[in-house]
């Protein structure tokens, strides 16, 4: 028997596989048993009511997709009243993803989300900061620090900071989040991209640009995890393009303690269950007794020459 459990800060997860925010909701319960997942991560909610972006909101690319959903939100009260109870019956901890336009709103929303039934606050700081020209909080170390420290002060729950791959200096961002008290990092969100329809000459997405996800981004996400693991000592949750058990092994070797699966669940609704079973089979075949033993064990024989 392989011990699949992992520790993310004070929290022990029964296994390292959980959904990525925006790529999971209770509807998956129509296809598989949600209780098998390491944790349950919900779509980001914002304190303001939002409708989300114009359609089309999805475009396919080679081995991935672009989305411009935005964050449609019915507000924090609605989430606490309607969404939290949907997951009360499951043993897996509920991770509430929160997003906001300003540092103060982030703090307020986090406090309002810190209710029984919610185990972790995931701060989606990859969203635009309206106080800084619309640049995402996690683009710069000081806005990352400001947001994460305010969120930490607003809640007794563990806080996971979700970083954006669009920043030029992921190590500085990771360090800022750690210094601000983040209990873990989620690395990372989608990569900004676009496509144009050559028949109509129009951008394919209603919102022109959108976030790239799926296997197409896996090498980038893996590199970001590896770079963060070089500099921080808090746990890292890897995310980006994971579709198979061996992808989880790769992310863990690069330094991730757990992983999130997004787009792969749109191709196979039960992808997370398959991934979990493949991870277990990998460990059995290799005689690895504890999956946690994979964390940060990549054999790097030469220091990379900095890019």
């Amino acid at each position: 028997m392989v011990d699949l459990s992992v520790r993310v800060g004070a929290l022990t997860l029964k296994n390292p596989v959980m959904p990525a925010s925006g790529c999971f909701s209770h509807e998956f319960g129509q296809v598989f048993d949600l209780g098998r997942l390491g944790a349950l991560v919900t779509k980001s909610v914002t304190p303001k009511l939002r409708k989300g972006n114009p359609i089309p909101r999805v475009a396919e690319v080679s081995q991935g997709m672009l989305n411009s959903i935005g964050i449609p939100s019915k507000g924090i009260d609605h989430y606490v009243r309607e969404t939290v109870p949907l997951f009360a019956a499951h043993s897996s901890p509920l991770v509430a993803s929160v997003s906001a336009d300003t540092v103060a709103e982030f703090a307020q929303a986090t406090a309002a989300l810190s209710v029984p039934g919610v185990a972790v606050i995931e701060a989606n700081i990859s969203c635009p900061n309206l106080e800084a020209d619309g640049h995402a909080f996690a683009m710069l170390p000081d806005t990352t620090y400001a947001a994460v420290s305010a969120i930490k002060r607003a809640t007794p729950l563990p806080v996971w900071a979700k970083l954006t791959p669009n920043t030029g200096d992921i190590k500085a961002i990771a360090l800022a989040a750690e210094r601000a008290g983040a209990d873990a990092l989620v690395v990372a969100n989608t990569i900004l991209g676009m496509t144009i329809d050559v028949n109509s000459f129009r951008p394919t997405l209603g919102n022109v640009m959108g976030g790239l996800s799926g296997p197409a981004i896996k090498p980038i996400a893996l590199r970001l995890v590896f770079q963060c693991a070089e500099v921080v000592s808090i746990p890292i949750i890897g995310c980006g393009g994971i579709a198979r058990g061996e992808d989880v092994v790769e992310f863990m070797l690069a330094g991730a303690t757990a992983v999130q699966v997004g787009t792969a669940s749109f191709v196979h609704a039960d992808a997370m269950i398959r991934i979990l079973e493949e991870l277990q089979a990998f460990c059995e075949a290799r005689g690895i007794g504890r999956v946690a033993d994979l964390v940060h064990r990549a054999r790097v024989e030469h220091e990379p020459i900095e890019w």
Binding site: S62, S265, F266
Partner: protein, 281 residues
């Protein structure tokens, strides 16, 4: 009231996700193809207007990544078969077109909310355009088996594209074909035809799909004649299960416009609630 919800699959999970074997995949005419899959019983519970999410297998030069939604054209539980009628428009449907008998593909469903067909209806009117008739065709045997009369207006580019037989499936229904080629499908001409039917033999409900122009026309006539209508919408999808919020359309609910998911609350909506027209791609 909606069409009776199918019972839960034996696995306890209401949505099936299973490999299906291709029994046949033939051209119906120059534009449309007919795919027959052998499907396990949980998948054969689809009701008219529901859809399946098909994983179109990759070929070397053609690699669709996401699934493609396809309305169920025919369900035959006694033959363990689900069938589709499709138009080849891009990577996904191109890869469907290459499937041959004996190939296997992954199919998830049945999904979404289908047409509401009250058993008490006596006469229904169906207005279908292009491949939209695939979505509406399963209503025909469903209604005929319950003694509901069906009148249909089928609109196509030309007589070769019409697929009247595929629509009627040997049921005794009344079909009015209209074509772009001879101008009979123009909105004014279709309106005159519809008024004739609504005046002479008022239906209990109207069903449509597949065209902005027909939707706007039917919304107007539905209000004027006080006839309830439903429409099947299409929208680009990712998950097909209500998770990702890719597939929303503006729907009027109690004076407010809200975004509803075509894969969940739809694809079939109350005709009068659909707000605005749309463009694809």
């Amino acid at each position: 009231m909606t069409v009776a919800q199918p019972p839960a699959a034996p696995t306890g999970f209401p949505v099936g996700n299973a490999p299906c074997v291709v029994r046949a995949n033939r051209a119906v005419n120059d534009r449309y193809r007919h795919l027959v899959l052998e499907a396990p019983p949980p998948l054969c519970r689809a009701t008219p207007g529901q859809f399946f999410h098909l994983l179109c297998p990759p070929f070397v030069d053609n690699e669709p990544y996401l699934r493609r939604p396809m309305s169920v054209y025919r369900v035959a539980p006694e033959e363990q078969a689900i069938e589709f009628l499709y138009n080849v428009v891009g990577a996904g449907t191109r890869s469907l077109a290459r499937l041959v008998a004996g190939d296997t593909m992954s199919v998830m469903g049945p999904l979404g909310t289908g047409f509401t067909i009250e058993p008490a209806y006596r006469h229904i009117l169906m207005v279908a355009r292009g491949v939209g008739l695939a979505t509406m065709a399963p209503v025909v045997p469903w209604a005929c088996r319950r003694g509901i009369r069906v009148t249909a207006i089928l609109s196509a580019r030309s007589p070769q594209d019409l697929m009247e037989r595929e629509f009627a499936q040997r049921e005794d229904i009344r079909v009015h074909p209209v074509f772009d080629q001879d101008g009979t499908s123009a909105v004014g001409r279709v309106e005159a035809l519809l008024r004739g039917i609504l005046d002479a033999d008022r239906p209990d409900a109207m069903f449509t799909c597949g065209s902005n122009r027909l939707m706007t026309l039917l919304q107007r006539l539905g209000t004027e004649y006080g006839v309830y209508g439903e429409i099947a919408l299409e929208q680009q999808m990712a998950c097909g299960l209500g998770v990702c919020l890719c597939c929303v359309r503006p729907i009027r609910v109690g004076g407010e416009i809200e975004h509803q998911r075509v894969c969940c609350e739809g694809p079939v909506f109350d005709l009068q609630q659909v707000a605005g027209t749309w463009r694809h791609g």
